[in-house]
Symmetry: C2
Subunit: 195 residues, 2 copies
DNA sequence: GGAGTTCTGTACCGATCACTCCAGAAAGAC
DNA sequence: GTCTTTCTGGAGTGATCGGTACAGAACTCC
């Protein structure tokens, strides 16, 4: 019927996401994107509309992957709930102090765009809420198992915990040493256990 | 000897800072800056060099003001130390959920530039460290007064506390409700008191 | 082998970017 | 007043921005 596409849309979105992650939205030009994806402008615009829409696709992709990843990392038996939270926190500290200093695409987007772009803000907010819900569930498990005192609302505990993780991401971007980020992550976990 | 300047440099820097705060570095054009400051391009370049240098001036200005402000807010007798920390945390939560959603210029800059701009990263890091030092001092006061248990290192406590404040700023940008940010701020203070 | 349709790469668009240049204005020195 | 010097504002710079137009390529269907 017609000429078929020569590219895989998900591969292209992944390449664009990578590029946006490196330099942010505004500082990534269409020229950068054509180089990163290997596509010409015609194909890019034909498939995705414009830069903004391509970015939204990449961001949605990232958020879905992040939500999926945290669910994988935190779900399990009540027994190891606190240990899973600890491992997650350590992972955030490690990622945030990675040499490339890209940080988290969601956090970067939130700070760069959420104030001016309602759609980006909505995705950011709902993703953060989803992450927090996963953490709250895991905290509740730890409460059931006796590792976290039961008198506090797990949602409140999860809210502070996620906020601290966002802070670790920002401090990592500023260049805070990995050891210090680890200390903060450990303290965030410890705070859960003392009510 | 020669024609004198018709503008006050500090006023101009303040106007530029305001503009940068609203839209960030990349998204603020020189045209925006001439409008915001009232100066022509000739004067702007003559006095500050280029956009990057003007931004650095504005950022330095902001960081100095922020450091000064937190010192003012936290210094006082041992007696009210914990209350001052609480007031500070509440203030961060309120500012972060302000309607204009500008957030904190330092946090915005960190996320936008620190990964690519060594000078901006250095200013951000040292400012965050200065803020943390002020908080650590105030925590130590609260320990002396008995409001915060003495067994923990005040610097560690201050590190988590500041990280959580950074997180509140990010979540505020995403659109998190003020009440929730307040809950997080309260929990961050509460965490200090339980060791 | 057309016909029909969609995809692909590129040339091109006006707008805007950061930045430079320069003629004239405004001051003190004499 | 005149000279010298610096400041001022706007016109003009090439480069780059996001986005469009379009000719030809690649495919299926008949």
């Amino acid at each position: 019927m017609a000429r078929p596409r020569e590219f895989d849309e998900t591969v292209v979105v992944a390449a664009a996401r990578e590029r946006f992650h490196e330099t942010g939205y505004a500082a990534t030009s269409l020229d950068d994107l054509t180089k990163a994806t290997g596509l010409g402008k015609g194909s890019l615009y034909g498939a995705f509309g414009d830069k903004r829409h391509l970015f939204q696709r990449a961001l949605d992709d990232y958020c879905a992957a992040a939500t999926e990843a945290i669910a994988q990392a935190l779900r399990g038996p009540d027994d190891g709930a606190l240990a899973r939270l600890q491992a997650y926190a350590t992972g955030v500290a490690n990622d945030s102090s990675a040499r490339d200093r890209r940080g988290c695409l969601l956090a970067n987007t939130t700070v760069e765009l959420a104030g001016r772009d309602a759609e980006a803000a909505a995705v950011a907010l709902s993703t953060y809420e989803a992450l927090e819900a996963e953490i709250a569930a895991c905290v509740a498990q730890a409460q059931r198992h006796g590792d976290v005192p039961g008198q506090s609302d797990p949602h409140d505990l999860a809210a502070v915990f996620t906020a601290t993780m966002r802070g670790v991401e920002v401090l990592g971007k500023a260049g805070t040493a990995r050891r210090k980020l680890r200390t903060i992550a450990d303290a965030a976990v410890h705070a859960l256990t003392v009510g």
